[in-house]
């Protein structure tokens, strides 16, 4: 499974990488903001899953999701963010994210969310 990790925090990306390393055949590509994320899609895409932070410099996660969804409706996207307010969550879902993980989270929580999302997306397709 090819996964795009977009977060301006290297530490957070490392945590994500460690979590997804338990998924058989997973391959991670990293990006530091929305612009880099879009560039990575162009260069290394398509991806099976994208984990995207909300608050990032240059281009934030929500803007990136909107851009992605202009052309790609099927790739699973999970927003992993500190934005926990309900209106923000609704906004993200409207933009096209499939699931939402609020920081702080445990590695197990993230793993469960990934499994759940991939099942949903798999069932939908």
């Amino acid at each position: 499974m090819k996964i795009l990790l977009v977060d301006d925090s290297r530490t957070m990306r490392n945590i994500w990488k460690k979590v997804i390393s338990s998924i058989d055949g997973s391959e991670a590509v990293e990006a530091g903001d929305g612009n880099e994320g879009l560039a990575a899609i162009e260069k290394s895409g398509p991806f099976d899953l994208m984990l995207i932070d909300w608050n990032m410099p240059n281009m934030d996660g929500l803007s990136m999701v909107k851009k992605v969804r202009e052309t790609d409706k099927s790739t699973a996207i999970i927003m992993v963010t500190t934005e926990a307010e309900k209106p923000r969550i609704i906004e993200a879902i409207k933009a096209g994210v499939n699931n939402y993980v609020v920081k702080p989270f445990t590695p197990d929580t993230l793993k469960d969310k990934i499994d759940e999302t991939m099942k949903k997306v798999g069932a939908a397709s």
């Binding site: 957070m12 500190t82 609020v102 920081k103 702080p104 445990t106 590695p107 197990d108």
Partner: protein, 538 residues
């Protein structure tokens, strides 16, 4: 010898034809010779006169014209040949042979020195005075100081395919030329040659070892011995031995020497207070007298006539003909003492103990741990402290993050990120700890499958013996007559150590308590399934 002799001058050529000289005939200056005439005449003789020779002749004639009688001069010189240098061999293995001469000088004294150690078992670690240090500790292949006489070994180990010798071809010289311009041939060099013995091969100019072993090289032959046969004792004439193949020693290994091999060792004499290690077997046909300093370890079996006062470790079985006395013994197979007692010391045996007498009439304290895997204990000791530290750290991290998790609504983004990192760190630490516990669990399961918790006594078992099985132990308080078997068994639902008489099946329950150390309890606690992360034991 003059080649030409006019009335005026003569030309001499040296016997090696490398020098032609011109001199005047008679003792008065001649009239009229000119340089061209002389050069012409010399030319007729076939002598090649170069520019310097021509200048010399002109100077000579000029002197004659001034009515002087000059000294003879050189008018032509040849070039002597440069002869070939003979081919030679270059040794590419360790050059320790030179040291042997020095070691041999000690040979006469070595027996005397070793004898003095034998008499005085309290000899210091440094060994006999003047002998140098035998090496720190007694572990196999421990580094030793280079100047130690113990280390002056005459054995040169080589590995398979190791280059041993380079055959260097003769250095080619050049032919010379005489005064007539004729070549003077150089002497040709002899090719170097070394006869190939066993276990060596030559490829182009290099001779290689075909096997691991001891290299021997004389002036005319080279070979590699797979087996090392010592002629007498292992003493200062031999030095410490570190060898890849089998070693056979017809006599003794003296105190404080080290013998180590990647294969097996057979000693027909006595192994004294030495350090002996074999990756495979040790056969101590003359017995092993450790004098509280001897250390004997084998990757597989140890077979001995007897073993006393030594530290012994075997990867598989230990079989002793007569007795094992006051030893610290670890056996990962079965320990058999066929005809005598196991007395004193501590013996840890994994796959059962078969013995004639256990303990002594004098009530000598003797501890036997049977069905106990030394590897399991070692693994536990390696893993337990690390697991403990990781679990404590994980718990501390969780304690730090807990208030943050309770007040998530009041955290800013940075605090939320930090909390995620801390949660991750705690998970990592717990995962690492659990990984180590899993490693221990696997060693434990293997030990459970392989261990044999049984002692068979054919003669007598005496008071003073402590028998320890996993989880339980009993002290023998009276004498038992064999043949009998001692095993752990549940009696009325409680695990006990029982002695069963083989002849009539009578069972004696020994006074049993939990195993004297807390190893089993602590290990089982460690192997228990992990509790909820927040309730992990400190």
């Amino acid at each position: 010898m003059p080649l030409t002799e006019s009335k005026i001058y003569r030309v001499n050529v040296s016997s090696d034809a490398l020098t032609a000289t011109l001199s005047v005939n008679g003792d008065t200056p001649p009239d009229g010779p000119i340089a061209e005439d002389i050069i012409k005449e010399v030319g007729v003789l076939g002598i090649i006169v170069d520019e310097q020779g021509t200048r010399n002749i002109e100077a000579y004639v000029s002197a004659l014209n001034k009515n002087q009688i000059p000294e003879p001069i050189i008018i032509a010189q040849g070039t002597p040949p440069t002869h070939d240098k003979n081919g030679r061999i270059e040794k590419l293995f360790d050059k320790v042979l030179e040291e042997n001469a020095e070691t041999k000088a000690l040979e006469g004294e070595s027996d005397k020195e070793a004898e003095s150690v034998k008499e005085d078992t309290s000899v210091k670690e440094g060994g006999p005075e003047g002998a140098g240090e035998p090496g720190e500790g007694c572990s196999p292949r421990a580094d030793v100081k280079a100047q130690s006489h113990y280390e002056r070994s005459s054995i040169i180990n080589v590995k398979k395919d190791q280059p041993l010798i380079r055959i260097i071809p003769p250095d080619r010289g050049t032919d010379g030329t005489d005064v007539y311009g004729k070549p003077i041939p150089r002497k040709l060099g002899r090719e170097a040659y070394l006869r190939l013995g066993n276990n060596v091969r030559q490829e182009e100019d290099i001779i290689y070892a075909d096997t691991n072993g001891k290299v021997e090289c004389t002036i005319e032959k080279i070979w590699v011995d797979e087996k090392l046969e010592i002629k007498s004792n292992v003493d200062f004439s031999v030095g410490n031995i570190d060898f890849d193949g089998d070693i056979e020693i017809p006599k003794n290994i003296l105190d404080l020497f080290k013998v180590c091999t990647r294969s097996s060792i057979t000693v027909r004499g006595v192994i004294e207070a030495a350090c002996v290690h074999a990756d495979l077997d040790i056969n101590g046909l003359g017995g092993m007298t450790g004098k509280e300093k001897g250390e004997y370890s084998a990757g597989r079996d140890i077979n001995a006539k007897y073993i006393t006062n030594a530290k012994v470790q075997a990867g598989r079985n230990i079989t002793v003909y007569s007795e094992v006395v006051h030893c610290d013994l670890v056996c990962n197979g079965m320990l058999t003492v066929e005809n005598g007692p196991l007395v004193g010391g501590r013996s840890v045996v994994k796959k059962g103990l078969k013995i004639k007498h256990l303990g002594s009439e004098a009530g000598t304290k003797t501890l036997v741990e049977v069905g106990v895997d030394a590897d399991l204990k070692a693994k536990y000791e390696e893993v337990a402290p690390v697991v403990k530290v990781k679990r404590i750290k994980a718990q501390k991290v969780r304690q730090t993050v807990e208030p943050l998790m309770r007040n998530q609504k009041h955290l800013n983004s940075e605090q939320k990120e930090k909390a995620t990192e801390l949660l991750y760190m705690a998970s990592e630490l717990e995962e690492e700890a659990e990984g180590l516990v899993e490693e221990l669990r696997q060693v434990y399961q293997k030990a459970e499958e392989e261990s044999v918790q049984e002692i068979e006594v054919t003669g007598r078992m005496y008071a003073g013996v402590t028998i320890r099985f996993p989880r339980v132990e009993a002290v023998v308080t009276r004498e038992f007559k064999g043949p009998l078997k001692i095993v752990p068994r549940k009696v009325q639902g409680v695990l006990r150590v029982v002695a069963i008489e083989s002849e009539n099946g009578s069972t004696h329950t020994l006074d049993t308590g939990s195993a004297g150390d807390d190893f089993w309890e602590a290990m089982m606690e460690l192997l228990a399934p992990p509790s909820e992360p927040d309730q992990k034991p400190a």
